[in-house]
């Protein structure tokens, strides 16, 4: 599954490169930034000039510096949210798919309720209850994503488990753990990986939306979603303070999405 043939899929290549570029920007950006993200070096909504190619923001921070510093948070937050959901959902989903009736029903029921629980209520409740720390937002988004993963993992596991090679392993008397890890998990990994890519895309959108609503990274830290929020009022005066982070968020989401798309296409092609 993980091999060089991946790179022959143009979508994987394109998505991977775009995502990689954004990730690099987010990781290396803080070292490249001319100013600290909290330094107020220019006028309020100062227009782009030679020393500040993207101008200044609502408090006179250098937009470029904040842009270079602000990628890390959405990067780790979306990754963490998708990863937590992936792991939790996979564990629960496999557990449901491979266990006896009772537990399966319980988990499926839980996931059903969970899914019927509108995201908005979930987010607002958790944030109002526990505050708006970034890790809480991550957890919230992860919680919102988990039932989808459960369903997918359960469905894939059930489909794989009904295949003869799993029955063969059962007949050999292999332990459940071994069957799970060696026979089933590798075969549900591709759909889960695709789902992971999609969750990244959704996560980026959701997290930047939450940031826009004021939930997420707290000022004065730099964060792309927060930058949109902070500078929205000056959109017509100094559009770059909003457009630049919006563009990067869009490109990041685009990259992850294309990547997921590519994997799906690749695995479909491989199966054919």
């Amino acid at each position: 599954m993980f091999n060089a043939r991946w790179w022959r899929e143009p979508q994987i290549r394109r998505g991977g490169l775009v995502t990689l570029a954004i990730v690099l920007l987010a990781l290396v950006g803080p070292w490249l930034a001319p100013h600290a993200p909290t330094d107020m070096v220019g006028g309020v909504y100062g227009a782009p000039a030679g020393d500040a190619p993207l101008g200044h923001d609502f408090l006179g921070h250098d937009v470029l510096s904040r842009l270079l510093n602000g990628g890390l948070s959405i990067l780790w937050m979306s990754l963490a949210a998708a990863a937590i959901a992936l792991i939790a959902g996979t564990v629960l989903g496999l557990l449901a798919g491979l266990s006896r009736q009772r537990l399966d029903q319980a988990i499926t029921w839980l996931a059903d309720i969970w899914l019927a629980f509108p995201d908005l209520i979930l987010v607002l409740l958790i944030v109002s209850m526990l505050g708006r720390a970034p890790w809480l937002i991550v957890l919230t988004v992860a919680i919102a994503f988990t039932p989808g993963v459960i369903r997918l993992a359960r469905g894939s596991a059930v489909a794989v488990a009904s295949q003869e090679f799993v029955e063969a392993a059962q007949m050999m008397g292999f332990s459940r753990t071994r069957i799970l890890l060696r026979e089933i998990l590798p075969n549900v990994l591709t759909p889960l990986l695709v789902h992971f890519g999609n969750m990244l895309t959704w996560g980026i959108g959701m997290l930047s939306g939450l940031s826009y609503l004021g939930y997420g990274v707290a000022p004065p830290a730099a964060d792309w979603g927060l930058m949109i929020n902070e500078n929205q009022a000056g959109l017509l005066v100094q559009p770059w303070a909003v457009l630049a982070p919006a563009l990067l968020i869009g490109v990041f989401a685009y990259g992850t999405n294309i990547f997921a798309e590519g994997i799906a296409r690749h695995s479909a092609g491989e199966r054919r």
Partner: protein, 523 residues
Amino acid sequence: MPNEFSRRVFLGNSLAVGGGLLLGSSLLTGCGGAEPAAGAAIARPTQPVRGGRLRVGIIDGDQAGNLDAHKPSGGGIIRGWALYSKFWEWNDDVSTRLGLAEFAEPNADASAWTIRIKPGLEFHHGKSITADDMLFSILRLTDPKLASPFAGLVGAIDRQALRKLDERTIEIRFKQGRSFFPLDETLIAFGGIVPTDYDPVSNPVGAGPYRLKSFVPGQRALFTRFENYFKPNQPYADELEIIEFKDQVSRVAALRAGQIDVASGVQAEHSALIKADPRLQLVVSPSTSFSGFNLNTAKAPFQDERVRQAFRLLADRQELIGRGLNGFGRIANDLYSPQDPTYNHAIAQRGYDLDQARSLLRQAGASDLRVELTTTANEVNAALVFAQQAKKAGVEVKVTPVDSSVFNGPQKEQWLMSPGSTPARGFLATGLHNDAPLAIYNRSNFRDERFSELFTQALGQPDLERRKQLVHEAQTIQHQRGGLLIWGFTDVLDAASSKVGGLHGEQTTFASWRFDSLWLNHA
């Protein structure tokens, strides 16, 4: 007191409650520059025009609000300006003048007030206003069962001693021989006069310029002109519509698209946009509403007077106004109510002195200080600017934005450092909100024996000159060792269509709420 205060509650609170729904900086901070009240250069009608529907867009937070004259919440404060009239009204310079009353004076030690209303006044439903209605209104206002948020401010009124002197006259006395001079400012905000058959839901009737037609909490209220308003020929518009918005950007969009006529309190960031639009006018009110920080004197390190002084010295007030208020404001000297005739102008403006701040901190053994500044999301700008300034003096200020429900929760007076602001009004009224004895929201926990003594005396001193002496000394104490870092006075910006007349800048914060004097050139 509450008038402005109401504005603050309304703007600040609701914005904050909205979490980040509302963007960026608060209204409070979005106030005018040093320039005088200025509108667009467009020729506007100078003669009032009657008729039309005046549509006012306000920013409402999450609170649905009500129509209660005596415990207004949410947009209820603004709607109250349309529905109810009071004994007094505000002047443009934040002093008071008589409204429904034709006579209102305290006795010599301010322990009793006599109030007489004008003859021939009527409520919206045609009933004449009598002393019974006046008594009913005061009694309702002070009823503990009303559970009013402002109960603390009217707590001094003695309900048992309330007396009707004749059909138009009542007497108000205060508990246990207490004296209370600033009654006018207190009763302006939520002392609406209502009839004895008043009910805030089923019969929201008053004597204000407009009568209610329909009300959908959280969305809009529609009013029609009250023909028997106590000011002849006013109000001008046939109908008044107050529309509630959750978001500044969408309201500006609505204003630009002609969907509303007045946007009450706009963000400073939008000023350029509004000025550039020939169809709009921007009205700047250079108010004496202050912006500052509360330093909790009950907690370390602010127990130490030197640390408080150091913080006041390390604030670059000009930069705070430039960045925190977008330039719409004037610097302050850690004292409030400069418009008050008792204000002590002799106290020198505190400057920006990093060296002295550092040395004071060193003396206090508080170099390498770390302080948490708790704020609501909408008051965060100035806090961030201050944090950057503090860094230069080696003080790390960590800005923590919290939900307003948390900010105003049980911990509300425990924050170590928090932003503070009070709308423009007299010294005594402002003090009762902030740092006076019996103040209802004393976040700096400032308690000074001499100051309390002076303030209490001033409360019972109707004589201006004598009161001035008391206040001057009290302000010296505040300036020396008070818990408030007041760095600026903010301008309030109102935007309106150029068709709107009667809107002008003033020192108060509610130029756009004077619905009885606004008109619409609807032709």
